[in-house]
């Protein structure tokens, strides 16, 4: 226990933040995508430490399994003719850095100032069965809306990314 935090939490958060930093600083885009995967895995471990098993495994399935693969595919599909980029940071990188440092200091100031010292409560008895029952009873309308949203978004993504000639139409 260091500062009242468990060693596992400290290691996991260091892994998460290091992955995010590597994604921010590396120049090779594929390396960025791989360190992004490390960050997603670290976040899934943090969810598991918070007793949110379902969210942790959903994070692994959706982010590492789908989103990271999608990002790698997009990077490989949009890679130019082998010419590496000279500058990987935009011209206004200093302003962006200052803004994000300001946001972080504001957020951490608010967290440290406002959270009272509350003891951790007992572990909630939460099973996947309860989550499924809640999804099918009180959260059924949001579930259906999310299903429609996902269908529309994925079909829209395919249509947007489709080659211009195969779209048909008078062009």
């Amino acid at each position: 226990m260091i500062f009242g935090l468990s060693l596992v939490f400290i290691l996991t958060s260091i892994l998460t933040v290091a992955g995010a930093l590597a994604a921010a600083l590396l120049r090779n885009l594929v390396h960025c995508a791989l360190s992004l995967t490390v960050t997603f895995a670290g976040l899934a471990l943090l969810y598991l430490q918070l007793d949110a098993q379902f969210a942790g495994f959903a994070q692994i399935l959706i982010y590492i399994g789908a989103v990271a693969i999608l990002v790698v595919f997009a990077i490989l599909l949009t890679r130019g003719s082998g010419i590496p980029e000279h500058r990987s940071f935009s011209s206004s990188w200093l302003a962006g850095l200052v803004i994000s440092a300001g946001v972080f200091s504001l957020l951490s100031w608010a967290v440290i100032e406002s959270i009272p010292a509350s003891a951790a409560r007992a572990t909630p008895q939460l099973t996947v069965q309860k989550i499924g029952q809640a999804l099918m009873s009180s959260y059924v309308l949001p579930l259906e809306i999310v299903a429609v949203l996902l269908t529309v978004a994925l079909i829209g993504a395919v249509i947007v990314a489709m080659p211009e000639s195969s779209k048909g139409g008078a062009k």
Partner: protein
Amino acid sequence: MTPLAAFLIVAALVFAIGLAISLTRRNAILVLIGIELMLNAANLNLIAFWRFGPHPEALTGMMFAIFSIAVAAAEAAVGLGLAIAYHRSKKTTDLDAMTRMKG
């Protein structure tokens, strides 16, 4: 430092790094990665508040995080599709060179 504050500070750090990625990198796909990181930080906040809140058995924060994950997946698909479509017509994903999106 309480565990809740520690989780919130980790989430704030991930959010700030995501914001820095989307504000400073030139590649459009990396900007999408930064947005994904910010959404993930928000999810971590939701789950931490759910766990340390007064009623963890009520499932609300957990459900919010799950729906947020689903919406983030849809956003990633559409954003990467847009990046691929732009690259097909203009042969670049450089944001400094993206000045117009009309065919």
